[in-house]
Every structure is written in C-alpha cells, then in structure tokens.
C-alpha cells in the first residue's frame, strides 16, 4: 500500500466528511469553533485507531451474525475510555463537546471503517487506516470550525481579530450556519478534489 497516496486520499477525495459524507452529526454540532473541531476530531481519531486495531485483531474470531453488536461493543469501550479520560484531563473541552462524546459510538465513520476495512485487513494496515481517516476527519472539522469561527465570531482559534465595533455574522455559529457552511464547503472540497484528481 502506498501510504502517501492514501494519506492524500483520506484528506481530499475520500475524506470521511467531504468525500463520503460520514459522521455528519458531530461535524455539524461541534464546529462552532476550530478548537472544538480539533478536539472532537482527535477524540474520534483515538477511537478510530483503537477500534480498528482491536477489530482487526479479532476479525477472525467474531462470528458474522453478531458482527455489528461485537464491533459496537469494542467501539463503545474506546469511546467510554475517551469520555472518562477527557473528563479527567480536559474538563472544559469535555463540557463543550458534551453529548457528542458518547455519540462517537454511532459515528458512521468508525463502524464504516470497521466493516469496510478493519474486518478484512491486517492489524498494521487497519491501525494506519484508522489514523489517516481520523486525521482526515479532524482536518475537515478544523476547516469547518475555522470558517464558522471567522465568520461567526470574528476569531481564529479563539483569538478575536476584528475590532470591537464590527459585526460578525452570528448565524454562522448557530445551527443553520453549520449546515450552510458545510454545504458550501462540500462544493469547495469537491472542486479541490477534482483539481487534485485531475493531475
């Protein structure tokens, strides 16, 4: 496997968010700022790597009929670990991500990678697949969060850059802004992917 190529792919053409439209709920919910986006992305990456690793290890043991429950139990274990870990270390971040930490369990990216990749490939490959996809996910969340933060709160990574009297477009940090920004971001990313693919 060509890792460099795969890396590029998971960032653009096959990006979990913009390419495959997976994991939309956390993508939309936690990206009112870039920081939250990164936090969520990294948490997901951790779970993704862990679950891919374990599922790949167990791929020959797990019977087909309880495949999904078994996968989900594995994923849920890692999610709970992240949940508790974040609560113990980064309490503030945990508070903003809130409900969406346990919901990593049902992020389709994770089950999707487990089904499509980890249950069929070797441990190392699965681990790297998890890492790349997680980073791709994080990347998208970061971009989305940055755009929304700039437009909606006039800040980059929490640092306000616009003068006091200026207005920001509040809508972008609210729910509708999440949908609309992601919609336009998909168009942009598709354009970029096409340009990259065209080479």
């Amino acid at each position: 496997m060509n890792y460099a190529d795969k890396f590029k792919k998971t960032f653009f053409t096959e990006n979990p968010v913009t390419g495959m439209l997976l994991g939309m709920c956390p993508t939309l919910a936690v990206t009112s700022s870039a920081e939250n986006g990164i936090g969520m992305g990294l948490a997901t990456t951790f779970v993704l790597m862990g679950s891919n690793l374990v599922i790949s290890l167990l791929r020959n043991i797990i019977p087909a009929r309880v495949r999904i429950p078994a996968f989900i139990v594995v994923i849920a274990t890692f999610v709970t670990i992240v949940d508790m870990g974040l609560q113990a270390t980064l309490f503030e971040l945990h508070k903003t991500l809130g409900l969406f930490i346990p919901l990593i369990v049902v992020n389709c990216i994770i089950l999707g990678r487990a089904e499509a990749f980890a249950s069929k490939n070797s441990v190392l490959q699965s681990f790297i697949d998890g890492l790349f996809n997680g980073l791709g996910f994080t990347f998208s969340l970061f971009i989305l969060g940055t755009i929304r933060e700039i437009l909606g709160s006039g800040a980059i990574l929490g640092m306000t850059f616009i003068p006091e009297n200026f207005r920001t477009v509040l809508l972008f940090v609210l729910a509708p802004g999440a949908f609309i920004t992601l919609g336009f971001m998909l168009v942009g990313m598709n354009r970029i992917s096409k340009a990259l693919g065209g080479k």
Binding site: S32, L58, I61, I62, P63, A64, R65, V66, P69, A70, V73, V74, A76, T77, T80, I81, M84, G85, Q87, A88, T89, F91, G152, S153, T168, L170, V173, L174
Partner: protein, 193 residues
C-alpha cells in the same frame, strides 16, 4: 462469512468481548474517578470563588443544600468564616425563560444580602447576544444591589436593570434569576431568625 457458526460460539464470543470490555472500563473508571470528581468540584469551586470574590478565609460544604422557593428548586452553599459565622451564600438558581431555554446561574451574596457577583454555569443563549449576560457592562450593574433597594425588572418593564441590547428576554430571565437568589437569601434569613 460463508458458514454459519454454531450458536454457542456466537454467544460465547460476544459475551467474552463484553466482559473484557466491561473489565477494562471498570479499570479505567477506577483510575479516572478521582480526577473527574475533582474536576467537577473544581468547577463549582471556581464559580463560588468568582461569586464570592472578596470573602476571605471561608469554608463551605461539599455539596449544595437544596431549598424550595416559589415552586422551583434552588441550591445554595453557605460560606462560613473560620469562626463559624456566616460569610455569605453562593446560590444556584435557574434563570427562567431564557431565549432558548432556562439556564443555570450562581449568585454570590454576602451576609448582609448584597450581591457580590454572578456567574452563569450553563446556558444555551445566542452567542454574541444573550451571552452578553456573562460580560462586563451588564454584570457590573448587579454588584452591590440588594433585594429592597432595586426594582428587579429591566428598564423596559419599568425596573432598574439595563437590558443587553437586543436581548431583552435574556436580560429579563437573568434578572429574574438574581431576584430568585435574593428570595433564597430572604428565606434563609427568616429561617435563622
């Protein structure tokens, strides 16, 4: 996938995975339980520190005491000086009827019933508008006020409080919350008498 595994194996594998997961989680839980509890406590501590700023050498209970006022629940920490005298109260109340939902806030009162400071614990108000209640010009006007020296309404409702621009509803809810906290204080005082 082809073959059908025997039922026993199916169950066994799932049960084993589950058990292993649970054991792992239990272990992690044991490890993180302490820090998490500490974090939670620290948060409340932080809030108390903000709303009771200026009171020195105080102690208060670990958990808030529940109290019932006008059909809604509230909680308070009674802060005491080393000598056991009441230094003040940190009251947790709901700001009822915010723009999107109720929100939790903490109001610090000194022993004479003067407001020391306010702190919003958890809210879903519009960022940039309603969350102005956490910011200075608005917060400042509450400091030092008491139950009786103020008409606890926003100016639009012929009260004394300046509302946040374009967020009257939030301001009103906030004001109501503060007023509730003062009611808690009043009740406590009456009890002590």
């Amino acid at each position: 996938m082809g073959k059908q595994e025997s039922g026993l194996k199916v169950i066994l594998v799932l049960v084993l995975i589950a058990m292993f997961s649970a054991i792992l989680l239990a272990y992690v839980n044991q490890v993180t339980r302490e820090p998490i509890a500490a974090n939670k406590k620290a948060e409340t501590q932080k809030a108390i520190k903000v709303v009771l700023a200026g009171l020195k050498d105080i102690s208060y209970p670990e958990n808030p005491t529940d109290i019932q006022i006008d059909n809604s629940g509230a909680g308070y920490f009674e802060a005491k000086y080393d000598n056991g005298k009441t230094a003040g109260y940190a009251v947790i109340v709901k700001g009822p009827g915010g723009f999107t939902n109720d929100f939790d806030m903490m109001v610090g009162l000194d022993s004479s019933g003067k407001i020391i400071d306010t702190y919003v614990l958890d809210h879903k108000e519009t960022p940039g508008l309603g969350d102005g209640m956490q910011k200075e010009p608005f917060k400042n006007q509450f400091r030092g006020r008491q139950l009786n020296d103020t008409e606890w309404k926003v100016k639009k409702d012929k009260g004394d409080i300046d509302a946040i621009t374009a967020a009257t509803i939030t301001s009103r809810a906030f004001t109501k919350g503060v007023w509730r906290a003062l009611q808690v204080y009043k009740t406590l005082r009456e009890d002590q008498k």
